[in-house]
Symmetry: C2
């Protein structure tokens, strides 16, 4: 298990924002919950005021694979270039379900995906990412807010 | 100006979550952009999976007061107790516009508001808060992600 701390996150925001800048997004969609802090950070770094979120929940449908539910929707009526943000692409099932839905619902928009981590085995790869995940990542937002003795 | 850093934030999440717990929220709505990281943190701390966001933009309508636009909407069809989260209540105009709209659109829901800071002069006060703001607050998400030499 790797602990991914706030200091690393601040460094990574600088690094991840560089390739994202070329896309010139006007909107950030953070995938809740894992992508919320990253979405906030990238929206600040890239100076994008249109920051929204979407909920994606996965659940065990059978032993073979997880099912994914997309809950809520975004208002992209004034958007053209949308950066979808999540902490990690693990199985890729979230993006595999979400991206076709976003593209068909909002055909006037271009979409790109930015994450901190991805796995080689994922069904879908992000357009922009920094690290390959080879073991479990313990993100600071899954630890620091839960324990009073964490920092 | 006060610099509000990540370490203070982690301590404050513990403190702010305590009064929020009694409300037993099933949903967190983070007000974008300022409430996004706090919303994420409180949803993790309170173990609430239903985390959404809403955009509120204020603009100078005239010299007397700001106008507020609420952009997008939340899916509260399966929610009953909703915690609305923002970083600071400044003039209070955001909540003054947002809360009646949420209450009239979702009459089956109860709403409470949690923020880190508030001002005594605000039009509306949050139900749960920690600090009174007497000068400008420079939040870490408005600084750390913008400069490479910030930490």
């Amino acid at each position: 298990m790797i602990y991914y701390d706030y200091k690393q996150f601040c460094t990574d925001i600088q690094r991840l924002s560089q390739p994202c800048e070329s896309f010139q997004a006007d909107t950030v969609i953070a995938i809740a919950r894992g992508g919320m802090t990253l979405g906030h950070a990238l929206a600040m770094r890239l100076d994008i005021r249109n920051l929204q979120s979407i909920r994606v929940e996965s659940y065990d449908a059978d032993v073979q694979r997880n099912e994914v539910s997309i809950l809520g929707q975004c208002d992209l009526s004034s958007s053209k270039r949308v950066l979808v943000v999540d902490d990690i692409v693990d199985s890729g099932q979230t993006l595999f379900a979400l991206l076709p839905l976003l593209r068909s619902s909002h055909p006037h928009c271009e979409f790109r995906v930015a994450t901190l981590f991805t796995k080689q085995t994922a069904l879908v790869q992000p357009d922009f990412f920094l690290h390959e995940a080879t073991e479990w990542i313990d993100f600071f937002w899954e630890r620091d807010f839960l324990k009073s003795d964490s920092i």
